[in-house]
Amino acid sequence: MYTANFRYSRPKTLAEAEALFHAGVDAKYLAGGQTLIPTMKARLAAPSDLIDLSRLPGLSFMREESNALIIGAGTCHADVAASPVVKKAIPALADLAGGIGDTAVRHRGTLGGSVANNDPAADYPAALIALGATVKTTRRVILAEDFFTGMFATALEPSEIVTEVSFPTPSRAAYVKFRNPASRYAMVGVFVAKRTDGVRVAITGAGHSVFRVPEMEAALAKNFTPAAIAGIAISSDGLNGDLFGSAEYRAHLVTVMAKRAVAAALV
């Protein structure tokens, strides 16, 4: 299967990448290609220029800094999953990365590509929102809350490049997902994080984009146990319904998976 024709370039610096982007008619950045290439093969996208970020130096790293874990946008999911630094600072994040797609996808897909794509069923957006992460780009620093703006939509300007994400370390956290058994994307994924300033519950897979559940957060701030949220049901209004599950089913799964996430965070 062939994609439409495009012009390929591999810049050596971020500045060169942005310049190439501006020079193209309908340019796109290419990172791990694990979303973009299938989309191009299905001819749902046909960019004129592909600007390959995957070999840009300095974008693949993980390091701990004062109460935060910083991960470079070019870091692949497999490296996050296997990293001793991540496992020590935020084990829930290593678990999340280790559950994305499959082995081969994890060796090529990147954090930056995942957040820039903001698939409604992607895993990373839940972690960014629950942990109160910030996204650093070639131009600015954006709070996760302001970054994910809707279905496949973000606050990024067309040529702006995500360079790293900073995740504040929580006191407890866990991510659990009910996977679609065929695609392994989240039917519903819940990231729970207990932080010094309260608790956050972020849901992916259920809605058009990642969202929080304030009622659960308030209940868990008082009593961080699965029982505290067992009686909290969310409305199915606006949730995703498809051949794999109705909106009502996904609403039900949110409570089930949130309880499991809290239980996992307590282990």
């Binding site: 299967m1 062939y2 994609t3 439409a4 024709n5 495009f6 012009r7 390929y8 591999r10 290419l30 290609g33 694990q34 290439i37 299938p38 093969k41 299905a42 592909l50 390959d52 995957s54 497999a78 296997a82 797609g101 499959d102 082995t103 081969a104 996808v105 060796h107 090529r108 065929a182 695609s183 392994r184």
Partner: protein, 158 residues
């Protein structure tokens, strides 16, 4: 067209290719290495898995130009003098029927055993999630991989 210089199964390859050439097509159609299969073309099945710089990747979900400068090993590059131990185990334990998924299964299994020399059944199943087999029901594939595991061995550091 873009110039490409890679190492495939130990041999240097230089070529001039269309930018949109997928790595799997380059391997199969330009180099006539037809071991990596195209099973789905939607990035789901894993029949096309090869190792790029020591990492398993779906060669249908990567442009050949992206591999410029890389060291690639395909199923054809595994056997040295005789079958690779994982290939021999698949044969011994009947880990294949039609064989279509086998190149990808073996490449993924070789990578798993390199990172985790003693995987249990759960770990093997997790590692093979991106490799679909329509024939075997997976049990004999898992048996084959267990048979080449090194009991008690710890994963390499890093």
């Amino acid at each position: 067209m873009t110039a490409l210089s890679i190492i495939v199964n130990g041999a240097k390859v230089d070529a001039e290719i269309e930018d949109r050439t997928l790595l799997v097509h380059f391997l199969r159609e330009h180099l006539r290495l037809t071991g990596a299969h195209v099973g789905c073309d939607t990035s789901q099945c894993g029949a096309c898995v090869v190792h790029v710089d020591g990492r398993p990747m779906k060669s249908c979900t990567m442009f050949a130009v992206q591999a410029d400068g890389s060291d690639i090993v395909t199923i054809e590059g595994l056997a040295k003098g005789g079958l690779h131990p994982v290939q021999a185990a698949f044969q011994e334990h009947h880990g294949l029927q039609c064989g279509f998924c086998t190149p990808g299964m073996v490449m993924t299994a070789v990578d798993l055993l390199r990172r985790n020399p003693d995987p249990d059944e759960t770990e093997i199943r997790h590692a093979l999630e991106g490799n679909i087999c329509r024939c075997t029901g997976y049990l004999n594939i898992i048996k084959a991989i267990r048979a080449v595991a090194t009991p008690g061995a710890a994963p390499p550091p890093g």
